[in-house]
């Protein structure tokens, strides 16, 4: 019961903070590029605007147009609920098992990909194809890096991994742990469509991945899609941050602990977001067919992490 409560807190906090995270990232980037920027609250205004707008449905598109954004949103919410962001407690019947989390993420990925195909436009298909290819190639790195992290703990449950790392500082800085986290960072960038894999702010059709899949959506459909994608960023970035800095998470319902955990999470997340945004300024999007090289590189890191865990651990 307590665990459920904590999870609810986590979902609410994470959902509430998500547009802010995006706002911070965009603002940081704008400032570093010498622009004024729309302000950190712009994403909230965007969502409100989209919800008020009339959604369109092109003749010939199917129910996927309506269902996919919702599926993405719910799946992202589930990931937010499962990943240890604010709390390491989890609902006993639904442990935040890594493989379950990944497969729920994949549901969202699939929903997006089908949405891209639904209208039968050239760009939607293109985006869908690229999106799925990247998802497929990311998969090995994801599983491998968390495999590496799970070895010292003997469990693929994320919260156990975070707790164990928090309990023993040396674990965080072992070669295996470092390699795994670095690999995971690449994965997160690819999964959430950040540079250098995808450019979230591009408007050049041929370079788009994420954007081209949602071309046909408007109004609230687009709002669900945007929020859903942002929530994925929150969850994954939050996970990486908590793996790298596994402290401050609440494991009980003590109000103080929860408060500390919430604040710690917001700070860690926003800082991390700002760092990512800052790094993106200095990066260019790589060509699509260079992406596999990047992912292969991160896979090797993760693989080394696993063997290092076995052979050196």
């Amino acid at each position: 019961m307590i665990a459920t409560l904590l999870v609810i807190v986590q979902v609410v906090v994470a959902t509430a903070i998500t547009p802010l995270l995006l706002g911070v990232m965009r603002q940081v980037r704008a400032r570093m590029e010498g622009r004024v920027g729309p302000g950190v609250l712009q994403p909230y205004r965007d969502v409100r605007k989209l919800l008020a707008k009339e959604p369109l449905r092109a003749d010939g598109s199917s129910g996927v147009l309506i269902a996919a954004p919702l599926v993405l949103l719910v799946s992202s919410l589930m990931v937010v609920a499962l990943v240890p962001l604010v709390t390491t407690a989890n609902i006993p019947a639904v442990p935040n098992d890594l493989f379950v989390v990944v497969s729920i993420l994949l549901i969202g990925t699939v929903a997006l990909a089908l949405l891209g195909l639904d209208a039968g436009t050239a760009f939607g298909g293109m985006g869908s194809s690229r999106h799925m290819m990247i998802a497929a190639l990311v998969e090995p790195t994801v599983l491998m890096s968390v495999y590496a992290l799970s070895i010292p703990v003997g469990s693929s449950t994320l919260s156990k991994i975070v707790v164990a790392r928090g309990a023993d500082v040396t674990r965080v800085v072992t070669p295996a742990g470092l390699l795994a986290v670095v690999a995971l960072v690449v994965v997160v960038l690819a999964e959430t469509g950040r540079l250098p894999v995808d450019n979230p702010s591009t408007h050049l059709e041929l370079t788009m991945i994420h954007e081209s899949m949602i071309l046909e959506s408007g109004g609230r459909d687009l709002a669900w899609l945007e929020v859903g994608s942002w929530l994925r960023l929150t969850a994954l970035l939050g996970l990486v941050v908590n793996l790298a800095l596994p402290w401050g998470l609440a494991d009980s319902a003590q109000p103080l602990a929860v408060l500390v955990a919430v604040v710690a999470f917001i700070v860690k997340l926003l800082v991390a977001g700002a760092l990512v945004a800052a790094a993106e300024v200095f990066m260019a999007k790589v060509r699509l067919f260079k992406v596999p090289e990047l992912l292969a590189g991160s896979f090797v890191l993760a693989f080394l992490a696993v063997t290092a865990s076995y052979l050196a651990g």
Partner: protein, 675 residues
């Protein structure tokens, strides 16, 4: 019903189905014979359940004309609990496929021979699963081989591609049979008995055992469609009628896995121990190669065939992991891997049945199985779209379908294997996990592509634009829909009931480390829990506020239907502008160019009056099966060469013939005089 009673029922019903196929007039033949075939399947399910649960071992003895007691015993049908599992799989797939066939079968597939072969095919598979000795195993094996070949031939008069497919299929099947027969002969003559219990009791080791192991492995791997022995799958499945493809893919290839499990677990456990890595490699490579080929093909049924190679590969991977872990003494985790193997088998049977049946409906409606010429069928074929979609989720192992639970179990076994003290495990487990993850990822892409291009978007050809309706007034038309729906329910049901199913399967194998959790989920003791119901509840809980929000917003801002998609200004032009299945896979072909070796050709023809201006550019890209090109094509060439050379032996010259006899005489005279 006891297992023996079930088997007798199966045989009786087979006879009935054959008789009905011959006596009932064409119009009601499918109904009569298909109904009887359904009965066979259902009897098979009961047989299997009886075999899984009954304690006293059921035995049915059939004498044959070769005297027993000489190392060749009479036929013995005594399904073990493990065989019972496969009886259930075969029976269930058979019943659903038969139901579908009642509506689907037409032309040669609904002929006398078609339905007779269908029933006999089912009988053969059930005999294999129930076999208690070598000869009856081989008998069932060959019965299903011949019956499936006949079924495969159904459309031979319409499509010339059927013949090469049938030849490949028959030859590979015979390769499988002969290596099994030789392997079994070795085993049987060492154990001085052909019964499996005696063979298991003989604890065969040594070079004989190794030779037998390798031969049997080749035999089973061929039937299971493992790389590099998979070549018959992508040829045979597309050419067979769809309900037969379903039966072949979902049930028949599973018997290869059955054989591998028996081989490594029961018959030759001591010999197979050192070959764990080989089994694992077979599985992992089949998985990755199969799904890679599936992801780039645009022929729907070929795609499903390669996906079969992938899924069987995963099941064999699980067996290999189990062997490795058991070698390392980690029996608890090894047991989980083996249960995962069975789960994979069961779940693949469920979703692949539906997928092939769905492909059949598409083929029936449009006459096309080329994804590049399909599209938009979700509107005309909602039932097929839903069932195919659910099954595709199962194939992509998304929660909470059957495939998800199975792959989750295998992944848990992988990450909980302890590689710290064992260099083999330390290397094998991560490599397996990596390749398996790639397999899962590509599987996702494959089925998004299959579903998305077939059912979503706009029709890419005239045939797809005007498909035959899903339901007609024809008797049996509903049967197709019902069969697909039953299959789809099974995919979901197996996903939701993963706990009881896995517990049942582990009890078949005699393991205790797997229990059903409080809410009916799957609990791997000390490792973790997977609870589909709780997961569903969580999803519902989170969906509730979203749903409320949607309701609120929807009332305020209604949706508007436009007749034009945006598409970056590319208004509704020709459907040729759409992304096709081929273009969908194009990035993959590039990324995996080294492994796939596509052949490309670019032809540019210039205008007659100006050689700078281009008139027409033709680009063609073809991806063939590299294993086939590199291994089989030379073998075929070599055989042809040998055949040509051998014709010199029979060149018509009587002098040469006399010379042979003379040489034989001289040799015999020399041999005789040697002491």
């Amino acid at each position: 019903m006891t297992a023996v009673g079930g088997l007798v029922t199966v045989m009786t019903l087979t006879g009935l189905a054959v008789v009905l196929a011959f006596v009932v007039p064409q119009r009601y033949r499918s109904l009569a014979s298909g109904g009887a075939s359904m009965g066979i399947g259902i009897a098979g399910i009961f047989t299997g359940i009886a075999a899984m649960t009954s304690v006293p071992k059921a035995v049915l003895v059939i004498p044959i004309a070769i005297p027993g007691g000489l190392g060749l015993d009479p036929l013995l049908l005594s399904p073990t609990p493990l065989g019972g599992v496969f009886c259930v799989v075969v029976g269930a797939v058979g019943a659903v496929a038969a139901l579908y066939g009642i509506g689907y079968a037409h032309g040669p597939a609904a002929s006398r021979s078609g339905w007779s072969a269908f029933a006999v095919f089912l009988l053969g598979m059930l005999i294999v699963a129930a076999a208690g000795d070598v000869v009856s195993f081989l008998l069932g094996w060959e019965t299903m081989a011949i019956a499936s070949t006949v079924l495969l031939l159904a459309d031979h008069a319409v499509r010339p591609a059927v013949r090469p497919a049938a030849v490949w299929y028959a030859v590979m099947t015979h390769l499988s049979f002969l290596s099994l027969a030789t392997g079994f002969a070795l085993v049987a003559s060492t154990a001085h008995s052909t019964t499996f219990t005696q063979i298991a009791a003989a604890h065969i080791t040594g070079p004989t055992g190794i030779a037998a192991f390798l031969l049997l492995l080749v035999g089973f791997a061929t039937k299971a469609g493992l790389v590099p022995l998979h070549v018959w799958l992508p040829r045979a499945h597309p050419e067979a009628p769809s309900h037969v493809s379903a039966l072949m893919s979902a049930a028949m290839v599973k018997l290869g896995v059955y054989g591998i499990i028996l081989l490594t677990g029961t018959w030759l456990p001591d010999v197979s121990r050192p070959f764990a890595i080989l089994v694992l490699a077979l599985g992992v490579l089949s998985g990755a190669y199969g799904i890679l080929q599936a992801s780039i093909t645009s022929d729907l049924k070929r795609l499903l065939a390669y996906s079969t190679t992938e899924n069987v590969g995963l099941a064999v991977t699980a067996v290999g992991v189990g062997m490795l872990l058991s070698n390392a003494g980690q029996d608890a985790v090894a047991a989980i891997a083996l249960v995962a193997a069975l789960l994979l088998v069961v779940s693949h049977a469920a979703f692949k049945t539906v997928l092939f049946l769905g492909a059949g409906t598409i083929l029936h409606a449009t006459g096309e199985r080329d994804l590049d010429r399909l599209g938009g069928l979700v509107r005309s074929h909602p039932v097929t779209a839903w069932t195919f979609g659910i099954a595709a989720m199962g194939a992509a192992a998304l929660p909470v379908t059957s495939g998800f639970g199975a792959e989750w179990t295998l992944l848990q076994a992988l990450v909980h294997g302890d590689g710290r003290a064992n260099i083999t495990l330390a290397l094998a487990l991560p490599v397996t996990l990596g390749l398996m993850a790639l397999t899962i990822g590509l599987g996702l892409l494959t089925f998004v592509k299959a579903f998305g291009t077939a059912f979503l978007a706009r029709p890419r050809s005239a045939a797809a634009a005007t498909p035959a309706p899903e339901f007609t007034s024809m008797p049996g038309s509903a049967a197709m829909g019902v069969a697909q729906a039953i299959g789809a329910l099974a995919v979901i049901g197996l996903g939701l009931a993963v706990g009881p199913v896995a517990t049942g399967l582990s009890s078949v194998l005699g393991y205790t480390g797997i229990v059903t959790s409080e809410l009916g989920g799957l609990r791997l003791v000390t490792i973790g829990v997977l609870d589909p119901y709780a997961l569903g509840l969580l999803a519902l809980g989170l969906a509730l506020p979203v749903a409320l929000l949607v309701l609120v917003v929807r009332r305020r801002v209604p949706r508007r239907v436009t007749d034009l998609a945006w598409g970056c200004g590319g208004a509704r032009t020709s459907p040729r502008m759409e992304y096709t299945a081929t273009s969908y896979a194009e990035p993959l072909v590039r990324v995996f160019g080294e492994a796939l070796r596509p052949t490309r050709s670019l032809e540019v023809s210039h205008l007659a009056e100006d050689h700078v201006l281009e008139n027409r550019v033709a680009f063609a890209q073809q991806v063939t099966d590299i294993v086939e090109d590199r291994w089989y094509a030379p073998a075929v060439g070599w055989l042809r060469f040998a055949g040509d050379q051998a014709r010199r032996v029979q060149n018509g010259s009587i002098h040469r013939y006399l010379g042979f006899s003379f040489a034989a005489l001289v040799v015999v005279l020399i041999v005789v005089t040697l002491p």
